[in-house]
């Protein structure tokens, strides 16, 4: 029902079917025709009359929203802009230069249109190309935020559109497209064999492969990031042979990775030592066996000047931005919250919720490897927090280790914990990366001494077997780790470990030998021989 009134004019429409109505309105001085959505209230006030449209926001077409969930403010902002500007989104497009606010709203409206109106997507993108004045920077910011905040809730169709519009953004070399691709890569989950996740892996490897030349020119580091992601995913994908769908995906991922190795080896080197850690899990994959052979025996086959030996990679610390690639933004927010605000002793419930959310599905515990690497290398608490009663990193890592049910995952988690020990150089490496392991070992005495024993055993296993050719280097580095930890006050002394009755005498003896040799190694490690490694 509706009614019209003389000024102040109030037109109220309640449409039961939520459809659009076009109502021609006459008010004295002018005629205006506009589209009313459901429950719109139109006011005419003031002199001369200005009209306001206050509409009840239409339901979101982008996300699945559960009944008891509050509206997401970002989704609301896109919907509002779309609803406000919808008439302007059809040709002929206005040629007047929009103000700053109008420009931002247009971006939001066009984005909403692209994602929710598939049949009009090409019209919307043409519109965007026509009005853009900032190299698409704001548009990609919106897209990146959408992926980071809402990806898991997006309706299937919208995800398809998202990939399409990302492809368009690569094509126009949009400012910020690298951030968008990183956000999408972060949404691929390790150990998740659901249709939705495998679809995303497939779309991304397809997109990045298809846009190879473009990305190589404009955003080469994306290829390094993608390599890290797909090598890591392959470790999970090669473990199972579920069906032909995953075989096709595996082939695409393998092809992409091999291509980076053979055509752009310098981009592989950008990853640093964790490249080797990732490649280890693919040693049994036939296509990677030549890569391994060349890395170990014939480095010249990579035709990259400056690269002559695998130890150059060992000595190159992996930047923390790679470890973010395998953690979703939500996981990251939860972990940082836990390690910044939750007091030791109050963590139990948070740990239950985290495990229920992220390690629920059988194969999903593989992500613990990436979480431990993230905690060691990409989350360094301030001194203030270290000295407070907030739960320390070593305690969280101890809990994560206990969450592992599969031995190969547990082994990889311990490797992730110790990885920076193996090739530690004080000048290049960060003491914060090596601190959690020693603190976990020492603080587990006496209550959880099994943990201490377990970790110590594993450390010596690594020392003896990780890279037999480089054993001397590894022993030297681990000695230097112990030296640095004591010298810089991370541990007061190793007495608790050495004098603990419950640790096997054999292990204690080896540990003592390490301590004894560290002064000699510390001297050796500071020799100029280190400088002969080329900058990678």
């Amino acid at each position: 029902a509706h009614r019209t009134q003389r000024l102040p004019r109030l037109l109220s429409f309640t449409t039961a079917d939520g459809g659009r109505r076009t109502k021609k309105v006459t008010t004295g001085a002018f005629n205006r025709e506009f589209t009313i959505h459901n429950c719109s209230i139109v006011f005419f006030t003031g002199s001369p009359p200005r009209f306001w449209i206050s509409a009840t926001l239409m339901a979101s077409r982008l996300i699945h929203k559960a009944t008891y969930e509050a509206d997401n403010s970002f989704d609301v902002s896109l919907r509002e802009s779309f609803q406000l500007l919808e008439p302007q989104l059809r040709p002929p497009f206005s040629l007047t230069i929009p103000t700053q606010t109008e420009y931002l709203n247009l971006n939001r409206a066009i984005l909403y249109g692209i994602l929710s109106e598939t049949h009009l997507a090409k019209v919307h993108i043409k519109h965007l190309h026509g009005i853009v004045i900032d190299g698409y920077s704001f548009f990609t910011t919106l897209l990146t935020r959408m992926v980071n905040e809402l990806y898991t809730k997006l309706v299937e169709n919208v995800k398809v559109q998202l990939i399409w519009v990302t492809s368009e953004m690569i094509y126009v070399s949009a400012v910020g497209v690298d951030g968008l691709l990183v956000a999408l890569l972060r949404q691929t989950r390790g150990g998740d064999f659901s249709e939705a996740n495998l679809w995303l892996c497939s779309e991304l490897v397809g997109l990045i492969s298809a846009k190879w030349d473009c990305l190589l020119d404009e955003q080469p580091l994306i290829l390094s990031s993608a390599l890290y992601v797909f090598l890591r995913l392959l470790a999970d994908h090669c473990r199972v042979s579920l069906n032909s769908k995953i075989e096709i995906l595996k082939q695409k991922e393998i092809e992409f990775c091999i291509r980076v190795f053979r055509e752009q080896f310098h981009l592989c080197l950008k990853i640093g030592r964790d490249l080797i850690r990732l490649l280890q899990d693919l040693v049994h994959v036939p296509e990677f066996q030549d890569i391994w052979k060349d890395l170990l025996l014939l480095p010249a086959n990579f035709k990259t000047s400056g690269f002559s030996d695998i130890s150059q990679l060992y000595r190159s610390r992996t930047s923390s931005r790679y470890f973010l690639l395998r953690i979703t933004p939500e996981m990251e927010a939860h972990l940082r919250f836990l390690l910044t605000h939750v007091k030791l002793g109050s963590q139990t419930r948070y740990q239950i919720w985290f495990a229920r959310k992220f390690f629920n599905v059988p194969d999903s515990e593989t992500v613990i490897i990436d979480i431990v690497r993230f905690i060691c290398c990409a989350h360094h608490p301030s001194n203030k927090i270290i000295l407070s009663s907030v739960i320390p990193r070593w305690a969280v890592i101890g809990w994560l280790l206990k969450c592992c049910t599969k031995s190969h995952v547990e082994a990889n988690v311990k490797l992730a914990l110790f990885y920076d020990w193996l090739f530690f150089h004080e000048e290049v490496d960060n003491i914060m990366n090596i601190e959690p392991a020693i603190l976990l070992m020492i603080n587990s005495i006496p209550k959880y001494v099994d943990m201490t024993q377990n970790l110590l055993e594993f450390l010596f296993l690594l020392m003896d077997h990780y890279d037999v050719d480089k054993k001397e280097l590894i022993v030297g580095c681990i000695s230097s780790v112990l030296d640095v930890l004591e010298r810089r006050g991370v541990v007061q002394s190793f007495d608790a470990l050495i004098s603990c009755d419950m640790v096997s005498p054999f292990l204690k003896e080896r540990f003592l030998k390490m301590l004894a040799s560290r002064n000699a190694s510390a001297f050796n490690n500071s020799q100029p021989a280190f400088l002969s490694c080329q900058r990678l």
Binding site: Y68, E69, A70, R349, Y350, I352, W353, F354, R356
Partner: protein, 138 residues
């Protein structure tokens, strides 16, 4: 917005609070309806919350909730519970990233009418420092 440590039993539906759901009990039937008791908390205190019907399945431990126009009163089995009530609303606004305490628990307090104002309740004594139905985990 009110802190949980400030609430007292009353017949009014005026409680607006920011809460985190810690634990849910078993879902049981009460006639046509289903209900379940839960433990919720904020940075100042915890309290028992009574969920009704779809609320029982809609919320999970770890969820951060916004309660509007809730009511804190004795239910049919004489438990002192917070609930949305007929005129209130419970919404999920996030999850995980909120600090909480489990002590005191406002439902585990012996309330008596204020001698100066019979419409109000005051705390007489503590029955238990934390929930006896959902004790703190070790």
């Amino acid at each position: 917005m009110v802190s949980l440590k400030e609430i007292a039993p009353a017949a009014r539906n005026n409680i607006n609070a920011h809460l985190i759901l810690l634990e849910k009990g078993r879902i049981t039937s009460e006639g046509q309806n289903k209900t379940c008791l839960a433990l919720v908390a904020d940075e100042t205190a915890s309290v028992h919350f009574q969920l009704w019907n779809e609320e029982c399945d809609a919320f999970q431990p770890g969820d951060i909730l916004r309660l509007s126009n809730g009511i804190f009163s004795y239910n049919r089995t004489n438990h002192l519970v917070l609930r949305a009530g007929k005129r209130g609303q419970l919404e999920k606004v996030g999850d995980f990233t909120m600090l909480f305490v489990e002590s005191p628990n406002m439902s585990e307090i012996l309330w008596v009418p204020d001698p100066n104002n019979s419409a109000k309740y005051i705390q007489e004594s503590v029955i238990s420092p934390h929930s006896r139905i959902f004790p703190p985990l070790q």
